[in-house]
Amino acid sequence: MKAILRRELTAYFTSPIGYVFIGVFAFISGFYFNEYVLVSGSGDISIPMYSSLLILVLLVPVLTMRLIAEERASRTEQLLLSSPVSVWSIALGKLLAAMCVYGGAMVTTFPYVVIIAIHGSPVWGKILASYLGFLLLGLCFVSIGLFFSSVTENQIIALVITIGVLLASFLAGILPSTGVDLLNQVISLVAVTGRFADFRNGILMAEDVIYYLSISALFVFLTVRGIEKRRWS
């Protein structure tokens, strides 16, 4: 797993993808920080973070599209599968590598916290909860992207499907209540970004954490099963 993690990280930063991801995220989140914190004189970092979610919906798929699709297209998958490593460690190594780049993007927002701490009155619980939510949400997004990267050899197809799915999930999160109970429940189940609201309000609920971890585990599991199934069919 370590070998895969290191190789994927190197690949992110020998190609422009890693820089583009972090750069674009830093630019947009910086813009929101300026708008919602500096200009409006608010000390609430969760507002620009919440606004950045839509950018993540578009950016994370760029990060994950190549993870497995590229291995399939270039036949390097055969090297991984014939090596003494389990499919789980292949999938987790790749997931972690993408999470490291994602984490790198999060780090670019730390200066904002410092600025708020110096010039405002930070609510630490809220800030920490927001970051935790952001991290868990990223884990979810990356897992979903990893899965869709494993269903095709074509990175563009992986990209488009992942954006489509994440966008649908994002839109489900901002949908007004429908009045039908069952439908509301289904929507709240698929609305991955919807759960972020609790975190940004500084509410740490076990239910939300478990939800994010479950969705991530589900998609990693599907990725592994998908790869294994292809060997059997």
């Binding site: 690949a11 991984l80 014939s82 090596s83 060997r231």
Partner: protein, 319 residues
């Protein structure tokens, strides 16, 4: 060393490998010979653990590929048909990655340097793989298979796409490697297999058609020789003269050329001298004469008796 029992692989309804059984002994080089789509790569993918078999079992170095996949995989180095290279890495980075991936315990620098010298890529260590020529890429692929010093090497068409000089180089390397490894090698070129292998397995449509030493296989088909000759003279007289030679089983005019007719002569044994005398006696002039090298297709037709089908398949691939 390698034991394959009743191996079967179905892709949907299509049977790719059909009840294949064979063993490879320690230190042996086994050649897999067969046309494209015969099931060579599928079998190799199963032996190396990239694919799972529908039925049957494979054990490598005493470890079953299904029950103890990691131990079995540690004993195998695999060079797939398309070398599994990360084009954006340098050769050194790539080999370092494979070293870590395979969890090799040997001293890294000594081990990798040794391999680079064996396959002659020491001079391109710092270059990116995407900038290397096909021949170098193939050698990097081979180097990758050697990492961890596996007991078994599985090489899928190691010389495909290389120029003649590179083919000879790779063959030399393989022969050198055979001193320390058990090797399975696939090819669809007969001379290649006969040049390197101790034993040849001919497979077609997922089944073993023949299994023997290269010498014996050649001898099996030696019974029927064919000669192509360009002869100037009246075709009927010439054919009659050729047919009168003892051992000739058939003669026909295949092509009318400006300098004479082109004839295909089939015979048991070498009849070139006799044909030459007979044709001259009948007033014909031999412009050109050569024995036709037996190709894989000839052996196939001979061994499978599937003349029509093989020809039909050929037509398919050309279309």
């Amino acid at each position: 060393m390698i034991e394959v029992k009743n191996l079967t692989k179905r892709f949907g309804g299509k049977v790719a490998v059909d009840g294949l059984s064979f063993t490879v002994d320690n230190g042996e080089i086994l050649g897999f010979l067969g046309p494209n789509g015969a099931g060579k790569s599928t079998t190799m993918n199963i032996i190396t653990g990239c694919l799972s078999a529908t039925d049957g079992s494979v054990s490598v170095n005493g470890y079953d590929v299904l029950d103890e996949p990691n131990k079995a995989k540690r004993s195998v180095g695999y060079l797939p048909e398309q070398p599994p290279l990360y084009l954006d890495m340098t050769v050194d980075e790539y080999l370092g990655f494979v070293y870590e991936l395979k969890k090799v315990k040997l001293d890294k620098k000594t081990h990798l340097d040794g391999i680079k010298n064996t396959v002659a890529i020491a001079d391109v260590g710092k270059r990116r793989i995407k900038n290397l020529s096909k021949g170098y890429r193939q050698r990097v692929g081979l180097a990758q298979a050697l990492i961890g010093n596996p007991a078994v090497l599985v090489l899928d068409e190691p010389t495909v796409g290389l120029d003649p000089a590179q083919i000879i180089e790779i063959r030399t390397v393989i022969k050198e490697l055979s001193k320390r490894h058990t090797i399975i090698l696939s090819s669809h070129i007969l001379p290649e297999v006969s040049a390197v292998c101790d034993r040849v397995l001919i497979i077609n449509k997922g089944k073993i058609v023949a299994e023997d030493t290269p010498e014996n296989l050649s001898r099996m088909v030696e019974g029927e020789n064919s000669v192509t000759a360009v002869i100037d003279g009246d075709s009927e007289t010439v054919i009659a003269a050729i047919r009168s030679v003892e051992g000739v089983t058939g003669a026909e005019l295949v092509n009318d050329r400006a300098d004479g007719g082109e004839y295909l002569i089939k015979a048991a044994g070498d009849v070139r001298r006799q044909v030459s005398v007979a044709v001259a006696g009948a007033g014909g002039t031999i412009i050109e004469m050569k024995t036709n090298e037996l190709s894989l297709e000839d052996i196939f037709i001979k061994l499978t008796g599937e003349t029509e089908e093989v020809k039909a398949n050929e037509g398919d691939t050309k279309a």
